[in-house]
Amino acid sequence: MARTLAMFTDTSLCIGCRACQVACKQWNELGAEAPEWTGTYQNHAHFTDQTFRLVRFVEEPKPSGDLAWLLMSDVCKHCAQAGCLEACPTGAIYRTEFGTVDINQDVCNGCRYCVASCPFGVVHFDDGSGTARKCTFCNDRIHNGLGPACAKACPTDSIQFGFRDELVAKAGKRVETLKGMGFKEAQLYGADTGGFLGGLNAFFLLLSKPSTYNLPEHPRLPQRNVVVDSLLSIGSALVVGLGAIVSFRSRGKGDGDA
């Protein structure tokens, strides 16, 4: 495996211009969608099959009574332990040599198990193609020495692309700087490979707690309970089986058995 690539989205630098969202649409040839009124500048409310990058506009009430205006360019997290990839029964969802997660559109048969298995609600079913779709990490670009379109287009370097280890080191320093500036809740989300889901290959610097951005505080791999659930099902089978065996042996003993 090649050295792991990553995207680092530093939300403290985001100005909400949505160049990333547009660049993503253009490069990936994603269709136009009817605008969705969300009450803020945010459009759409969630990722769709035609929106892989989405700038979130979050208003957080502050103790002073003011609102903090938080901007965050959200994207597929390319989890090191990816629920969608584990769920995929066709092998359409795969991990690239760079550590990113992509869906092979020629293999996906549209069973939609990945949609229910994403802890972040990223994967979306495309009615047109009949397949599941999400951010590809610009798989075609990174295999040709280019960064993802969103990172390329970002005018403030809020989205940075590079080797994961280098970006994590950089991000750590940035958190310290921000804390020194008074952003007490500045924190990294998904940078730690020892943390949840083995770390996210698209990780974030947030200015408030994850739930403020509608991100789960402790996302977990959906498949973590397969063994327990299966054993309990086997236990259930044994009880039901025993009941049936008792019933069928209970009467008619000595009737002869051909």
Binding site: C88, Y113, R224, D229, A244, I245
Partner: protein, 274 residues
């Protein structure tokens, strides 16, 4: 925000009919292996019910895909830890078992009977798998109501067994076999299964805790309590306990069990839809 997979009526029917197929096959195989010669009717009905249901199940699954022509892609991969992957394989393998058992159930010759019993005992495993893996599958997603209670698979299995037995009982009743030895045994086994299902359901709700909200307080709460708990479980169990010697009431209870089995799959699948 989490997303729902938009598994709707086709999947509700698949979960329901897959449970019946697995349960009926299991009941048939137990009747075949542990019952007497007079239980053969039960075995034969069970095998013959399972086969067409498995075919319908496969058709429902394929029709629900975004690209149905690519259903074979599921069989190009084998991920033993992934319920969706081994589920597709198990459905296919179980189909072969139901076909063999149904075919052999037409022959009264001793070698055919001996083979049928052996095949049935192995096939039980796949029947149970089909009845329960759907529960394990949805309980290993990111959606809290589906994934927080650890007993979805166990519950589906108990319900599958019970609805399979109810289907056999109903066919016995309709073909004039009610009141016989096989009928009594199937009804007794179903009483155990219904009682067990009630216990599993209670434990499941406790384990779910606050994640049970879509079920207990959502728009389908009335259907859950009325259709499943009362009409689908409590009433048939009461009928079975007080009046199991009356064939007509036995048939009524079998119908109610089937209604309950369908309502269970319906409320579980549909209550998470947004």
């Amino acid at each position: 925000m989490l997303k729902t997979p938009h598994w709707e009526m086709m999947i509700v029917w698949y979960f329901f009919l897959g449970g019946i197929a697995g349960g009926a096959y299991f009941t048939a195989a137990v009747a075949d292996a542990f019952g007497t010669a007079r239980d053969r009717a039960v075995a034969r009905i069970g095998y013959l019910v399972a086969l067409p249901l498995v075919v319908i199940c496969g058709a429902l699954l394929i029709a629900d895909l975004g690209v149905p022509m690519r259903f074979l892609n599921m069989l190009g991969t084998f991920k033993f830890w992934d319920p969706m992957s081994i589920g597709a394989w198990a459905l296919g393998v179980f189909g072969l078992f139901t076909f063999a058992s149904a075919l052999l159930s037409f022959s009264p010759s001793p070698p055919a009977v001996a083979w049928r019993r052996k095949i049935g005992l192995v096939g039980i495993f796949f029947g149970f798998f089909l009845a329960s893996y759907t529960g394990v599958l949805i309980s290993n997603t990111a959606l809290p109501f589906w994934s927080e209670g650890r007993l979805m698979g166990a519950l589906f299995l108990a319900s599958g067994a019970s609805t399979g037995m109810a289907t056999i009982a109903l066919i016995l009743f309709l073909t004039g076999g009610a009141g016989g030895e096989g009928w009594r045994k199937v009804k007794q086994a179903d009483r155990y299964a219904i009682g067990f299902e009630l216990c599993v359901l209670a434990l499941f709700l406790v384990l779910l805790g606050s994640a049970a909200a879509p079920l207990l307080g959502g728009r389908l709460a009335v259907l859950f309590w009325g259709g499943l708990v009362v009409v689908g479980l409590a009433v048939p169990l009461a009928l079975e306990l007080v009046a199991h010697r009356t064939a007509a009431l036995g048939a009524v209870s079998a119908v109610l069990v089937l209604v309950g089995g369908f309502v269970l799959r319906y409320v579980v699948v549909m209550s998470i839809q947004t």
